[in-house]
C-alpha cells in the first residue's frame, strides 16, 4: 500500500507519520509537496501535524487554499482514504471536508500528554481493527484541539455513528469528548491525537498503530 504524506512548509510530524507507516508497518510512503496539483499514485493520504503555514491567522485557514488541497478534495470525492492528524484535522475542517471547528483548548494552554481514547465506532476504514472494549493510549499535542459544532451537527455525527474516538478524560473541552470524526461517506477522518507517535514500544505505547492497520486492512480488502 502506498501512503501519500502531504508536506506543508510548517508540517512537523510529516516525518513521524512517514516513519510509522514506512519503518514500522513496512508500507511505501510518498512525500507530497504542498504546491503540487496532483497526488500521484497513492492509496491513501495523510495530512500530518504541525503548523502548515505558521497558523498565525487560524489553524488551517491558509492551508485550505493550497494547490495540494484541490487534489486532496478530488481524491476524497473519489472515495480515497484521507486521514488528518492534529493540524491535518484542523485543515480538513477548514476545508469543509469535515464538519465543525477546532478552537482553543479549554484552559487556553497547549497540552502535550498521553491520553486514553475509546473507539466510538469500529465501522470505519480507520478503526475497523480496533475494539470498543479497549482503551488506547495515544498522545495529544495541541493548543487548538477543542472540538466544537452546533447541536444538530453533533447529534448527526452520533446518529450516523461517525465519532471514531472519544477521550476517556477530556483534556481540552471538546464537546461530547470527541477526539476524532468521519465524513458522511466515511472515507475521511480527522483526529487530534497522534497515532504516529504511539507506534512502537520505545515510545511507551503501540496503541496508535491500530489506525494505520485499519487502513491497511481496508485497502487489502478493496
Amino acid at each position: 500500500m502506498t501512503f501519500g504524506v502531504i508536506v506543508f512548509p510548517g508540517s512537523n510530524r510529516d516525518h513521524d507519520a512517514a516513519y510509522a507507516v514506512e519503518k514500522i508497518l513496512g508500507q511505501k510512503v510518498n512525500l507530497i509537496w504542498h504546491d503540487s496539483a496532483s497526488l500521484g499514485s497513492v492509496d491513501a493520504v495523510i495530512l500530518p501535524g504541525g503548523f502548515a503555514y505558521g497558523d498565525y491567522l487560524r489553524c488551517g485557514a491558509i492551508a485550505k487554499f493550497s494547490p495540494v488541497m484541490m487534489a486532496v478534495r478530488k481524491f476524497a470525492a473519489g472515495g480515497g482514504l484521507v486521514l488528518g492528524i492534529c493540524n491535518g484535522f484542523q485543515i480538513l475542517v477548514e476545508a469543509g471536508l469535515l464538519p465543525g471547528a477546532l478552537i482553543r483548548n479549554r484552559g487556553l494552554r497547549f497540552i502535550c500528554r498521553n491520553v486514553q481514547l475509546r473507539p466510538g465506532t469500529t465501522n470505519s476504514p480507520f478503526t475497523c481493527a480496533a475494539s470498543k472494549e479497549k482503551t488506547y493510549c495515544v498522545p495529544i499535542a495541541h493548543g487548538e484541539g477543542c472540538y466544537f459544532a452546533d447541536q444538530r451537527t453533533l447529534d448527526e455525527l452520533e446518529a450516523e455513528d461517525r465519532v471514531t474516538f472519544r477521550y476517556v478524560e477530556n483534556p481540552n473541552g471538546s464537546l461530547r469528548d470527541i477526539a476524532g470524526i468521519l465524513n458522511r461517506e466515511r472515507n475521511v477522518m480527522g483526529m487530534m491525537p497522534h497515532p504516529e507517535d504511539a507506534a512502537e514500544p520505545l515510545m511507551g505505547s503501540c496503541d496508535g498503530l491500530v489506525v494505520f492497520q485499519s487502513m491497511l486492512t481496508t485497502a487489502v480488502r478493496a
Binding site: 510548517g10 505558521g54 497547549f110
Partner: protein, 738 residues
Amino acid sequence: MSAALITPDLIAQHQLTPQEYEKIVALLGREPSYTELGIFSVMWSEHCSYKSSRLHLKKLPTSGNRVVQGPGENAGVIDIGEGYVIAFKIESHNHPSFIEPFQGAATGVGGILRDIFTMGARPVAVLDSLRFGRLDDPVTGVRNRRILQGVVAGIAHYGNCFGVPTVGGECLFESCYDGNPLVNVFALGVCRKQEVCYARAAGVGNPVIYVGARTGRDGIHGASMASAEFTEESKQKRPNVQVGDPFLEKLLLEACLEAMQTAAVVGIQDMGAAGLTCSTCEMGSRGEVGIEIELDRVPQRETGMMPYEIMLSESQERMLLVAEQGRQEEVFRVFRRWGLEAVEIGVVTGDGKLRVKQHGEVVAEIPNRELADGAPLYDRPHTQPLRRAPLEPPPLPDPDVQHALPALVASGDLCGKSWLWEQYDYLVRSSTVAGPGAEAAIIRIKETGTSVAISLDGNGRYCYLSPRGGAMLAVAESCRNVSTVGAVPVAATNCLNFGNPERPEIMAQLVEAIEGMAEACRFFDTPITGGNVSLYNETLGEGIYPTPVLGVVGLKKTAVAAGIAFRHAGRAVMLLGGLGSTDEVRFGSTQYAKTIVNRLWGLPPALDLAQEKRVQEAIREIVNAGLAESAHDLSDGGLAVALAECACSTNVGARIDLDSDLRPDLLLFHEGPSRVLVSTTKSDAVAAIAWRHGTEAPVIGVTIEKEIEIRQKGRVLGRWQVASLKAVYDDALESHVR
C-alpha cells in the same frame, strides 16, 4: 567616510572604556566613524568577546577522542559513531527574558536552534534551565508569576511550531532571581559526520549571501544590553528585545539544510547577537579573509535605516552564507522553493578587512581579525567569593518528618512541573524515549542504533556557599543522571550565569566555579565543547547566586528506558552508594534548610569524586543488564523526596527501615551525592555489581501498594498515602502560579 563627533559621552554610552577607545584608535590609525564605534561596541561587549572570562575559560578541558569540534564554533560537535555526529550547546537569554518574558524566551530558543542548524545538524532536542524569583513573595510574587508564565509560553510557542521536542530541564525559585530571571536554553542536533558545516568564509571572490527575514530596527544593542546591570531604566529597553517568528525559522532550517546538500555552500553563520556585524567579521576572521558588503542590497523592513542600525540590528531568523562563485543559482533555487528571500550582498576579499558600503561609499572599514578576536582581555581582580551566609548552623527545629515531606514536595523547587512541561511538545519527531520528569531525557537517533541522554543541572545555593564545590556537584549530578539511565557521559556544555565581574568578590565566584567545573569535567572525562557566559546578572546592585548550569550528554544503545517510578509492589528497594554521611554544616544548603528551616548556611554536600565514579559505573551496569525496574538518583530533597518521586506516578510506594544513628531530619533529607535508589527483583545481582565496583547497595526496604512508610531502626518516622502526596506534588505549581 562620514564625519561623526565622537565624544567621551558617546563612548561611555557604548559601554566602552576610555582605554578601549584608545585601543580602537590605535588599531585603525584614526578616529572611528559612528558606525565603526557601534560595531566595536557590540563586538567588544562582554556578551560577544568574553573579555572578563576568556582567561579562565581556557582552564576547561575541551578535547577528547569523540570531540569533532570544540569551543569557537556555533556549537560543539561530538562523534556518536556509525558515521553520525551530534552538535549541541547551551545559551542564556536572561536579560531579554526579564524585559519581555514571552519574546525574550522565544528568541532565546530561536537563537540556539540557529546555532545548531548552522552546523548542518537538524535540531532534535531542546531542554531549558530556568530560575525565577519566588512566586509566593508578597511584593515581587505577582511579577515573578508573570515572568514565569511568559517565559514558558514563549519557549512553547517557538519550539512547538518549529517542531523540536522540548524534552526536559529544570526550574527553580529563589529570591535572588527576583529582578533577574535565568533562561538558559540547550539544543542538540544530528548530522552526518562528513556534512558538518562551519562558519568560515573562504575563497576570494566568492559571493556573500543574506538569507531569511528582513532587517529592521529591532534588537539594536541587544548584546550590549546583555552586558550591563539592570537599573530602573532597563524597562525602557523593551524595544531592544526582538520578536521571533518560529515558522520562518522552520523554513530557514529546511532551506539551509537543503542548500548545504548542494555542496555549493562554503560557510554559514546565523545572525544572532550583534547581527550582521558579528556574522561578517567572525566568518572573515575564522577564514582569514576579508568581507565586503553593500548595505543597499540588505533586505530591509523599514526605510531610511542608517548603516549603524543595519549593522547592529538583531532582527531574528537571518543567516549569512558564503557560496561557491558561479553556483549562487543552485543556492537561490533552494531558498525560492521555501519562499525565502536570498540576496547576494557582498563578496569575499583577500585583504582581511570588513568593509561596509552604503550607496557605494565606504562607511566602515575594520580589520576582521582584530575586531573579532582582538577584544581586550581582562584579568580582573578576584578576592574571596562573596558570601553572606554563616558557616555555623542555627538551632534546628525538632524533626517532624511526617509534616516535612509533604511541605517539601509542595515547594516550588521540588513539586511536579507538569503544568510547565505539558505546554511543550516533547514528542514531536517520535524519538523521545524519556521526556520531561525523567532522570535524564533520552532521544533515540533514528539513523543509528544509538540514543543520546541529556541532563541539565545547576544549584545556585550550593555555589553561593562554595562556588568550587557547587560547580563540581553540578558536574557530578549531571553525569549521575545520565548514568542512571544507562548512558556513558561523553561531553558537556556550560552556561555560566554570574553577577558583575568588575566586583572582585563576584569575579572570585566565577573563577572558582570554572576551576571546580574544570576539575570535575576532567575527572569524568566530559570535555566542555562550548557554552555561554552571562555576566552582569544584577539588578540595582543585587547579584544572583553564582549559577553555573551544566548540560551533560551521554550515549547508550537504543532500548526501552526503565524510568524512575516504582512499577510493582513486592520489589526490593536498594540504595546504591549507601546512606551517605552528613553533618549540620553540610545540611545548610539543602531544600530542607530552605523550606523547613527557612535559612541558608554552612557548606554544600561533600563530594568524593572517586566514590561518585564508582556509583555511576555500577548503576550503568545495573541498568543496562536490565536488573533495575526503576532507578532514581538522590538529589534535591534527599532520600525521602526521592521515594515520593518514585511513588507518585504509579501509586506504588515503599516500606523502608534505615539502620542509622543520624538525626532523622539529616538522615532523610540530606543531599549527599553518589546515591541511586533502585527497585528490583534481583537484589543479589545488583548487590554483586555494586560490590564489584567497590561500593555498596544495601536493601533498605520493599515496595508496597499505595503507601510510603519510613522507619529508623524499627521506629516509625512517618507514614503517608501516596495519593495524598501525589495530589500535593501535582497541584502545587499550578496553585503557585495562579
